[in-house]
Subunit: 428 residues, 2 copies
């Protein structure tokens, strides 16, 4: 089955926004084992839009369109789609009612131009939009299935998952060899793609199981996909594959789907009734920023210290000056003192610290750029380790924060503090 | 002049990465007053690539291609471009030497497959790549100018600005009505687009001056563009327009081009020989993280406290418990005590604090979600203000951090602490 994604809007072609809808839609199609062959974008220009629709019909069976469903003069997608295939526009009363109701919920009157959003090409199916005013359109032209969705990501995501994907799956089952497909996204941290491939290479030996890899620095995502003659068969196979992966990778799999590491750690802290505090040098506040992205993080995240200057380490964390003089700020004793200091001062269950040289300056023969100490203090004692992360400043800080978050998760699970296998561990 | 951007690579069509090259390239073309009409992406598939090249030749004069210049089997851009237009591939000795030298600089031997990167279509011009192994290609086919660039953003950006844009400008001057164009990016914070438009609407009255707007939350970028019969005329006009804008907006313009607010504030602190410390509640470490993104920030950023829990405000900042009990954590006295506390404890010239309710939970009638106090403590006294930012959690934290950074900049400039005009100021 050949698929393409078409996004529409002047703002895209002017480079005002980075178009993330295309990658989102292609990723979701892959979850049904459908590869995208073309991405294209055109302006709100009728002639260019007609060309794009005709070309899509000629070369693709699935065409996902986003953008141009709004109420303004520039929003032409549905009108031009009808025109391109010689269809009349007809008023869809239930949509008009839904749009009116949408405005009423916010205590506003529907503007005249919103009425336009209730007109659809004759023969099209209307896709409801519970979170916005623009319904979607599903139009079948010969062997080609057109799905028009809003450009606003939150509306697009919901419509894609709830309305479009089931219809795409059904469209495929119509054709020859249509089988049911299931997939899931597993998020891993701590192992590189080639190692993952080695450990899991045999999982996808069977043609009904595909294992996709995707790097999302510093994580690696796995997407197992299974095919079956029935939904039950595909589901059962997927459950089995996920179990195999989880058995082999253990706590390296930290979450699924939309779960982030900070949301997983947060939920684990909340469930255990534990609290955490941070003492950050090279990450500069980035770990705290990560923890507090999560709603309700005040339930377990107490705060901490950004100890960039040595004075901050002494004054706010009680790190002895002698320790700094003897070992330097980037050292095991200082990392330990920082994690223990913040844990004690804030009365937290866990204290986590980072001290390193993210570069590009500040390195020495003894402690080259990339060196970083990470420590976790907890009731049973403090664990500290030194790494040499061979990344630029930005990525060095990202991966350091990720290890720190991951170690809190591992502490809560009672797991070992493993060093990410694709990173060098240095013991100066 | 009609332009299009074509990006090539399986990873794009699988949705593994969000393709930001397209918007970058279109934005840069706009700096020459050239609008992009089409964006497209194809896989590393010879037939699809040939189609895309042929279509581009038929409909566009400027075609910017990115991706597929690497040394692997999948990297086919140059080979297929030659094939599409019936050109032989010829070895470009200087490029081979440059690639060899590139590897030698890193003490490595050039791999055999890198040699491929030194072959180009007959008649093409080679575009040097000082930061990678893949040179670019400039090929003219009839009225169409093809520019092939690497997909790696850092290599692409440099090649686009230094090699491609001047040739695009020259290609346009060849044609009828070709004039010299100049533009600059001005970064502003503190005013919405409609207000900016009101204040600057007359700047672009003359057809030789265009003023572009672009929102990059929480900033707004302006791109003045001027046209002239000569480079001198266009340069002089641009200087005049930029001066007018700067006069009207004053310190609302914080930087130009690639300067970020944290790099501008950092440079100003360094120049003034001043230091700063942070006391963050709702931003959770985000201001520290912003300050420390900048290389060498240890020269002026001392660190600070992430005072999420009240205990952290008391223990690490010396905020009196009575103050917290009487006024609550989100209050003027607490914001002031936080900023003053961190300034004093770390001996910094400036202390800046945030305390607010980013939501979605935690609001009350008295202090609704969105409320935030921001304070700056400095030798002359402390300034504090309350805002009600009507954004989601993520954006609430972003704009709060931006105001905090901006106020340090304004303090150094001796400017007033203005409230962003597009945001509501609340005095509970």
């Amino acid at each position: 089955m050949s698929a393409e994604v078409l996004t529409i809007g002047d703002e895209l072609l002017r480079g005002e926004i980075v178009d993330s809808n295309k990658s989102y839609l292609s990723d979701r199609l892959l979850s049904l084992d459908i590869e995208t062959r073309f991405h294209s974008s055109v302006r709100d220009d009728p002639a260019d839009m007609v060309d794009a629709f005709e070309r899509a019909k000629a070369r693709s069976q699935i065409v996902l369109v986003s953008g141009g469903l709004g109420p303004t003069r520039d929003d032409l997608t549905v009108e031009i789609l009808a025109q391109a295939f010689g269809r009349k526009l007809v008023l869809h009363e239930p949509s008009l009612e839904a749009i009116r109701a949408f405005f009423q919920r916010f205590g506003r009157e529907m503007a005249k131009n919103n009425e336009k959003q209730a007109w659809f090409p004759e023969g099209a199916e209307v896709l409801p939009n519970p979170v916005g005013t623009a319904p979607g359109t599903y139009l079948r032209e010969g062997d080609t299935h057109f799905f028009c969705m809003p450009g606003v990501p939150s509306e697009l995501y919901l419509m894609m998952d709830e309305q479009v994907l089931p219809r795409v799956a059904a469209a495929r089952s119509d054709g020859p060899g249509g089988r049911v497909v299931r997939s899931r996204l597993l998020r891993t941290f701590g192992m590189g793609e080639s190692n993952l491939d080695e450990m899991l290479g045999d999982v996808a030996k069977n043609g009904d199981v595909v294992l996709g890899f995707r790097t999302a620095f510093p994580d690696n995502f796995l997407r197992p996909l299974t095919r079956g003659d029935t939904a039950e068969a595909a589901d059962a196979k997927l459950a089995e594959v996920v179990e195999t992966i989880r058995e082999r990778l253990g706590p390296m799999v930290y979450g699924e789907g939309e779960q982030t590491l900070e949301s997983v750690v947060g939920a684990a802290l909340r469930e255990a009734g534990k609290t955490v505090a941070v003492a950050e040098s090279c990450t500069g506040g980035g770990i705290g920023e990560r923890f507090t992205r999560v709603e309700g993080s005040s339930g377990y995240f107490l705060g901490g210290v950004v100890a960039y200057a040595n004075a901050a380490k002494v004054e706010l964390l009680g790190v002895p000056e002698a320790l700094l003089e003897e070992h330097g700020a980037v050292s095991e004793p200082v990392a330990r003192a920082m994690a223990e200091g913040v844990r004690e001062r804030l009365g937290a269950d866990f204290g986590v610290s980072t001290t390193g040289i993210s570069g590009p300056g500040g390195g020495s023969d003894d402690k080259p750029v990339g060196t970083v100490w990470i420590a976790v203090a907890q009731p049973g004692g403090t664990h500290a380790e030194c790494f040499l992360f061979p990344f630029d400043r930005d990525r060095h800080r990202q991966v350091t924060a990720q290890v720190a978050l991951d170690w809190i998760r591992r502490a809560l699970l009672g797991e070992e503090f493993v060093a990410p296998r694709y990173l060098r561990t240095a013991r100066p």
